[in-house]
Symmetry: D2
Subunit: 170 residues, 4 copies
């Protein structure tokens, strides 16, 4: 695909954050990898927390599809990023970095997830990022309420994100 | 130049943060632009706070030289980034984002600067990032003390950063 | 009650964070006020986000019971704190301050709550603070799992927090 | 002295942050202790980073004078606070907590200091907190410029802070 950073012309105008736990099931890994491939297919930058599990799977999928990845780490050490991250940000702020992970995406897709992911779901909804939940947390809210949707497949998750962002072709 | 984000093979292994004020003199703008060109010449990702003044000048210089830029913003709105930023991170943490700006660089070069820059200088030194000060703040420390150097030109600043990082050819 | 801050002898050894939305129902306000009274009855410092709604109700209840309150604000302006806050911290970090709100409590009690509260629930569980959910979010986890309990009354919520902290008499 | 937290009537309306390094000379320790005593004498809450060195000395001085102290820690563990801190906030944000330390004071007094202190000086000036520098960093600015003053004694430092805040009797 076209290089991201050679000229301002290639400046990306779409970022999608994929959030999930550093440890996940094989099924969640496969799901996150597929989400990553589809996000790359949109030409979006895949944003994640940069570590293992769902974060690595989504970034791996994006790279497999020729996509671009951005990882935002809790610590100061870039080497903690998984090998599928192109651009690494180290924050040194611990879990406070979760706010930057969701803020940097135009939409957020959660795959499975534990409590760190739950905090990111809350922050994403609080700051008004469209949010799709896949195979994990379900809130006591109807689908679509306050910009939160539920998906059963990676394809549905990315389609819902596209629609929420009113992307052409969505 | 080689695209940054097409394949893991192009993952950058060098980041240099350039810090400075959102408002600066024409001389500082020219200086920061030259620093940006030279940083790009090293093949490094230029990291900055993503806003105007020195941040825009350094990013502009890096793009003129075919380089790659990363901007880390204080707010939640990506559109606040200057037009020379390739990859934008929004943190929503206000000035607390200064820690991520300096942490994300292997070395830090300050051009001029006001108080936000001074806070970044302190944070960079605190977390042990080699730091070069150019045309601005001078601390009551001898050059080289605790990894802080003073430069009079953009060329000298980047050369000092290269040497501090023990880059081949430096 | 004994003054908090006259001598090191009065240094509090128990803090409980009460989290909830800046806007709430009258029933939630009454519930949070009662939680605040009971937290004060334990001799604990009541920690909250310092703003209105549940945060003000809990602090008001604590003051009615002769308790002590600590408010941690998102902005830089102390005057944004509700009038029931004794000690005000301004962070200037926006929603990133949520981490400090839950970290500063030995246990966390959530009353009702919207998405900011959900982010605090996730962060509290992530860092291992015992967590009691009252009249609001219910997670897909059994009661007691990973230190999360559900309560139906203010009395039950505070009793569960006491037990989780193994306080004498609990 | 009057208890801080018994009733809203005792809500403090003056906070002064004292910043400095976790390791300091005996002379700086004595200076910070005297600053703490004088801050307590103003009826102000002494705010600091909660750790050792200058932070402990200032808090100790404030307690010796019957004052009140607030410590804002970088980690999640309250026990890291020095024994002179009355109210402890744990942030879990590492050096990003420096912003909350200076933001929470109406004025800021720096005693000696290393690079963490320099970052706090920059942040305090950036957000417009009156700032007095004592026995440490000196900036290339004239005294009084942008609300920054230099003092040679603890008495002068506190007097300058009082004047900057236009306190009665100052």
């Amino acid at each position: 695909m076209e290089p991201l950073l050679d000229t301002p012309a290639t400046r990306p105008d779409l970022y999608i954050s994929v959030i999930g736990a550093g440890r996940c099931t094989a099924a969640q890994y496969a799901l996150a990898e597929q989400v990553g491939r589809l996000v790359a297919g949109l030409g979006a930058v895949l944003v994640c927390g940069g570590l293992s599990g769902v974060m690595a799977a989504a970034a791996r999928g994006a790279k497999e599809a020729g996509g671009r990845t951005l990882g935002i780490l809790p610590g100061h050490d870039r080497s903690e990023a998984n090998t599928y991250i192109d651009v690494v940000v180290t924050t040194g702020m611990g879990h406070a970095r979760n706010l930057a992970v969701v803020s940097s995406g135009d939409a957020v897709i959660a795959v499975g997830g534990e409590y760190g992911t739950l905090s990111e779901i809350g922050l994403a909804a609080k700051i008004g990022r469209p949010l799709v939940l896949l195979d994990g947390w379900r809130l006591q809210r109807d689908a679509g309420t306050e910009g939160i949707w539920y998906a059963d497949t990676a394809e549905e998750a990315v389609a819902l994100a596209r629609r929420a962002l009113r992307l052409s072709g969505a």
